[in-house]
């Protein structure tokens, strides 16, 4: 019919197109094999190689931090990244493509959830081995995963529903404090709350409960914003939600029971990488389920034309309130995870800075898109860590990147793209 559109634009396809074709036959599984080899390689020869290249230790975030701190190390860092990551990943992905495709096809025939589970576990294994190198890596990874969850939850409101909410740091704070209170009060001997009510209960059993309670608390508090602001449409939500964020912050500052502005610490060490990964994956799964159902697409209808939506049997107010509570729930869960990763929270964390951060992630990554949220949260949190050595200049470069994205892709990097697991896990190369 028509010529294939999209992909790399223009006629100067030559090299780019060749490379794209070269790798288009490799399924996700093939890339996973490559990544697995890369992280394993790092474990085996990482130290020796970085010694050889004159690096002080294994570059933590792909050599960027190192190269920025000591520009003389740049060639060494580049060589390391090339030898450990880029070459093994691409070569293995390409070489294993034929039989990776065969395995992928076999997996694709299994019930979908089994297939997805296998992929997720594989992916987790790669991340785990990668993060095993240093505690800093693990922490960065955990915080990035939490940022993904938080960004996605805000995208429900600002992207899918097209309203502008500023209250997510508030929900996160409520989730963090409630989840922390539950876990500290009931399960830990602590100066603030005294001895634990229950002791000797395994963390993996009660941590989900604490997080869930935190999420529900955030969700209930969201009603305070939702009920007055969804009577009409317009800027009310932005203003009310901003006020809500400040109210929550100063309320916690004045609440001596949970430590006031000194903060609340001593959270049990329950949020290991696996837990954070599992909750983030679950959050993405549930949110994606919701926004791809006809019920969830009502959000898009409300955004694009509310009168038309209500004339087509959509109870717009109910839809908006549900979406808002749902979004607040995940923000609360992200807050609970955050508190247990850092193992200390104070109200100052959940201020305007956090808001700017998460809004930037949403708009940078792309509205109305799960991919967008993942890309936005990942790129901005990694960028934030990588540019750390530049100190003040970091706050020039990141906003500059944001402005450029807003100019060239006003709705974000990957906006309005439906997240389909099928497309990810499908075997490739059947043309």
């Amino acid at each position: 019919m028509e010529e294939k559109t999209g992909g790399s634009p223009g006629p100067k396809t030559g090299l780019k197109e060749t490379i794209r074709l070269f790798f288009s036959r490799a399924p996700l599984l093939g890339w996973f094999f490559g990544a697995l080899l890369a992280v394993a390689l790092e474990q085996w020869v990482g130290y020796d190689l970085s010694d050889l290249l004159g690096l002080p230790k294994i570059p933590v975030l792909f050599g960027c931090v190192l190269a920025l701190k000591k520009p003389a190390m740049l060639p060494g860092a580049l060589g390391y990244v090339l030898a450990i990551y880029i070459l093994p990943v691409t070569i293995v992905a390409r070489l294993t493509a034929p039989w990776a495709n065969r395995i992928a096809a076999r997996l694709f025939d299994l019930p979908r959830w089994v297939c997805v589970m296998v992929y997720l576990l594989f992916f987790y294994a790669i991340l785990h081995i990668w993060a095993d190198i240093s505690a800093y890596r693990e922490l960065t990874l955990k915080l990035t995963l939490i940022a993904v969850l938080l960004t996605l939850s805000l995208n429900i409101i600002n992207g899918y529903m097209g309203e502008f909410s500023c209250s997510h740091p508030g929900f996160m704070a409520i989730g963090a404090y409630v989840a922390s209170t539950v876990s500290v009060y009931f399960f830990v001997d602590d100066k603030l709350f005294g001895t634990a009510v229950f002791s000797g209960v395994p963390g993996w059993l009660v941590f989900p409960v604490a997080l869930f309670v935190g999420g529900v608390a955030a969700s209930i508090s969201a009603l305070v914003v939702a009920i007055p602001s969804f009577k009409t449409r317009g800027d009310y939500l932005a203003i009310i939600s901003l006020a809500f964020m400040f109210i929550v912050k100063s309320a916690i500052e004045n609440l001596e029971v949970v430590g006031g502005s000194r903060g609340l610490g001593n959270q049990p060490d329950w949020a290991n990488l696996f837990t954070v990964f599992a909750w983030t994956a679950a959050g993405i799964w549930v949110i994606n389920n919701f926004v791809t159902s006809t019920m969830g697409k009502a959000l898009n209808a409300v955004r694009d034309d509310e009168i038309a939506a209500s004339a087509m049997t959509v109870n717009t107010r109910r839809v908006k309130i549900i979406a808002f509570l749902f979004s607040a729930f995940w923000a609360g869960v992200a807050g609970g995870l955050f508190a247990h990763v850092i193992r200390y929270v104070n109200p100052g964390t959940f201020g305007i800075q956090k808001l700017a951060e998460v809004l930037a992630m949403v708009y940078f990554g792309g509205l109305n898109s799960v991919y967008g949220s993942i890309v936005g949260a990942l790129s901005l949190s990694v960028l934030g860590e990588v540019l750390r050595p530049l100190e003040l200049f970091k706050w020039i470069i990141i906003p500059l990147a944001l402005i450029l994205v807003m100019i060239y892709r006003p709705r974000g990097l990957v906006a309005f793209k439906e997240f389909k697991v099928e497309n990810l896990v499908r075997p490739r190369g059947k043309r």
Binding site: T294, M295, A301
Partner: protein, 256 residues
Amino acid sequence: MALLEIENMTHYFGGLRAVHNYGLALDPGQIRGLIGPNGAGKTTIFNLITGIYQPSEGSLLMDGKSISGLQPHEIASRGMCRTFQNLRLWRHMTVLEHVMMARHSKIGYGLVGAFFGSSRRHREEAAIERKARDILEVAEIDHLADKMVADLPYGAQRRVEMARALSAEPKILFLDEPTAGMNPEELIRMMEIIRLVHKDLGIAIFLIEHRLKMVMELCEMIQTLVFGEVIAEGTPDEIQNNPMVIDAYLGKEIID
């Protein structure tokens, strides 16, 4: 008994009386027209019936039950769906999604199903999609199912609106200038679709239209509205020969 019965409906915009003592008795399966010069209040009447505005006075009964004070989505769920004069489509959604969305109130899988993707949800979504595709076929836009509405030509967008309204399974379909901006060819196809909806699906139709020829051809009964008041009601023949209607459209001859 009439399917939709309206008595003495009056509406003010501030001090302006937009609709005065409007009355209507629409029978099941009837096809009716509402004509009048620009600014006569035709679209306001649609907005009043479908709940977008609340009438200042008057009673609205559907199937003998009062519908005044209900929200637009409640009225739509009771079987009164409409199209809009200035298309109100959802920019970022595909044609198929539009038609599926109109079945929103009929979804039975609930929030839990939506969150966790229960098998009931998959069954229901599949059923909704099947029905939506059937309706797209009726409206002759099944080949456009996966297109974004913003990319479609105007005539096709009008048909998407119509298909979307049909998808909610209305008893009465309100069409606000269904052929506005269409070329003669599109116009003929639209008239065929309206006839088909009326005859085969047995849906009552109430339409606003400026092309008098089309209204005369399609409708069983016609009301003429001038400055918010019905000045004439009758069959196409009666309306065509009513001197007041002719006056309203052509103006009075001044004889000194």
